[in-house]
């Protein structure tokens, strides 16, 4: 019934089956095809990220993997169990933090955790111990008796994190776990996630909008409009762009595009009001462009490619087109 903490990464047999395997999974809502036949596998002990803009289908995929939504097509296994035919085994093996909070706000943190322990059949003595450990780990032990409605958004999030681990799941699903957390809490949360992986070999499946979080994942799937359009380690994805990214803002982007093609043999992409060039060695090219380009340059920047660039390169759109930019995420990106 209960799974003991699993062995650490190194001790595990090498040819262990995938923690999550998904084949051609799809889901439609009426006419809208929210998830269009995605396939991927997540290895045991891996931190796997789902990156994509609003409405990409990330939460819908999570709902199917966590048995809350029946797929329209395809199949998926989590911890070796089919998400449709073996719902209960899947449910016992997973922990989840939903995108929207799912706490009973009238009750205290302790009450919320105890209910969870009873629902998952954790024996009383062990539950008491884990509840204390969990609350201390997320720094809420001192406020355990207060009704959750008095908690701040970040505290609620941390409580949910502690709750999702009470029954020692094998796979943890996190749907935007750090949204609304201040930077300090985000780092603490990440620290905790990494530790869980190291100590228990927990497999983590998370979605995020934050580039820096996506970078911390072992592998990420980039999702857009219901499809997985790229899947690899963050480093490999960025390397696929071929080196550096130069962004140019010119007086006439159309003319500049043509000029770059004809005189420099470079294929630039127009994203919003900027031209983007993916080049091997930007440091060498940039001075030449500044000297020789006929169209007047208004602004220029040279960057290592980010996952955002990968997204732009694949879709021609900015990741955050759809919503207002999060100033904190911008700041973090620049800080790198």
């Amino acid at each position: 019934m209960l799974t003991e903490p699993r062995k650490s990464l190194g001790e595990r047999a090498p040819a262990e089956a995938a923690a999550i395997s998904v084949e051609n999974l799809s889901r439609r809502f009426g006419k809208l095809e929210a998830v269009k036949g995605v396939s991927f596998a997540v290895h045991p002990g891996e931190i796997f990220g789902f990156l994509g803009p609003n409405g990409a289908g990330k939460s819908t995929t999570i709902s199917m993997l966590t048995t809350l939504l029946t797929p329209s097509g395809g199949r998926a296994e989590v911890a070796g169990h089919d998400v449709v035919r073996e719902r209960n085994q899947v449910r016992q093996a997973i922990g989840i933090i939903f995108q929207e909070q799912a706490l009973d706000l009238r009750l205290s943190a302790l009450d919320n955790l105890w209910l969870h322990a009873i629902l998952y059949g954790v024996p009383t003595a062990r539950a008491a111990q884990r509840i204390e450990q969990g609350l201390r780990a997320v720094d809420l032990w001192d406020r355990r008796k207060e009704p959750v409605s008095r908690y701040s958004g970040g505290m609620k999030r941390r409580l949910e994190m502690a709750r999702g681990l009470i029954h020692t799941p094998q796979v943890l699903f996190l749907d935007e776990p750090t949204v609304g957390l201040d930077p300090q809490s985000r780092y603490a949360m990440w620290d905790y996630i990494q530790r869980l992986r190291q100590e228990f070999g927990l497999t983590i499946f998370m979605t995020t909008h934050y580039m820096d979080e996506a970078e911390a994942c072992d592998r990420i799937a980039i999702m857009d409009k219901g499809s997985v359009i790229a899947l690899d380690s963050p480093a490999a994805l960025k390397a696929s762009l071929g080196g550096d990214v130069i962004s140019l803002k010119t007086e006439h982007n159309g003319l500049a595009l043509a000029e770059l093609r004809e005189r420099f043999g470079l294929e630039a992409k127009l994203a919003e009001d900027q031209l983007r060039l993916e080049v091997k060695d930007g440091g060498e090219l940039l001075p030449r462009l500044l000297r020789e380009l006929q169209v007047k340059i208004l602004r220029v920047s040279l960057n290592q490619p980010t996952l955002d660039d990968v997204f732009v390169s694949l879709t021609g759109r900015e990741m955050r087109d759809e919503g207002p930019a999060d100033p904190r995420a911008m700041w973090m990106r620049r800080g790198r």
């Binding site: 929207e100 009973d104 009238r106 009750l107 009873i118």
Partner: protein
């Protein structure tokens, strides 16, 4: 085994919330008190004009308990819709527990809440001129619990369908009030107009209230000096059988409806 713990968890959560909302329990006494003392005294004068001697407040006292049980039970079931809207339902649905256990846990917690609220109404018994012994008290509690269970299950059946709390007024005006007004809570179910009689007799609440009336007024109602008639119409065993049967059908339907959503 795992079913039992899931039922317990669902029940426990509602009872913890009930305890936290103690103040609401007291506010919940207001409406019954209005029915009992304002409506009861007001309409009591009508029955006296008509020549009756029986005290109307005594007569509707069990009806007001029925009202309380009905509303408490169904409202507790409707909390499922609130849980859906405020997110907590997902925590329950993603847990390794059957939908059956969730529905049954909900019905039991509604029954408990309705019984607690119903017992509190008994505080008004002396004021309403209703006197009964310990045995009758126990009987009343059992009937409250059974009626509460049936009505909560009935509510769960609906709550499983509703996605938003906007449907709330429909539930109250379209279902609860008809159930209450047809139940014989406020009038005797004998000698009714022909068109009304069948509706009254298919209303399950009629049987719950009739049984409560039997238990709360063991001597019957005094219609003349020293002349008593039974306060209730059906044999108590029949009423109890109807409520239990209705409860079982409703909980079965609620479980079915709740599981279907998967």
């Amino acid at each position: 085994m795992s079913e039992a713990r899931a039922i317990y968890a669902i029940w426990l959560r509602d009872i913890k919330r009930l305890w936290l909302d103690r103040a609401r329990i007291l506010i919940g006494l207001l409406q019954p008190a209005l029915y009992l003392f304002v409506l009861g005294s007001g309409l009591g004068s009508v029955t006296r004009i008509a020549g009756g001697k029986g005290d109307y407040i005594q007569f509707i006292f069990p009806g007001v308990i029925g009202l309380t049980v009905l509303f408490t039970a169904v409202f507790s079931a409707v909390s499922i819709v609130f849980d859906r809207e405020f997110g907590f339902l997902k925590e329950v649905l993603v847990a390794p527990v059957s939908r059956r256990a969730i529905a049954i846990g909900k019905s039991l917690s509604g029954s408990t809440q309705a019984t607690v609220q119903g017992i509190l109404i008994l505080i008004f018994a002396p004021l309403a001129g209703v006197h009964f012994g310990f045995g009758e008290l126990l009987g009343l509690i059992v009937i409250m619990a059974l009626t509460g269970f049936a009505m909560t299950s009935f509510g769960v059946l609906f709550a499983a369908r509703f996605r938003s709390t906007e449907a709330f007024p429909i539930v109250i005006n379209g279902i609860l009030l008809p159930l209450f007004f047809l139940s014989g809570a406020l009038y005797p179910v004998t000698n009714l107009p022909v068109w009304l009689t069948p509706f009254v007799h298919i209303d399950p609440l009629t049987y719950g209230i009739d049984a409560m009336r039997g238990a709360a007024l063991p001597k019957g109602l005094e219609v003349g000096p020293g002349v008593f008639v039974p306060a209730h119409v059906y044999p108590i065993w029949l009423s109890v059988a109807v409520i239990v049967a209705f409860g079982l059908v409703m909980v079965w339907l609620a479980v079915w409806q709740f599981s279907r959503a998967e």
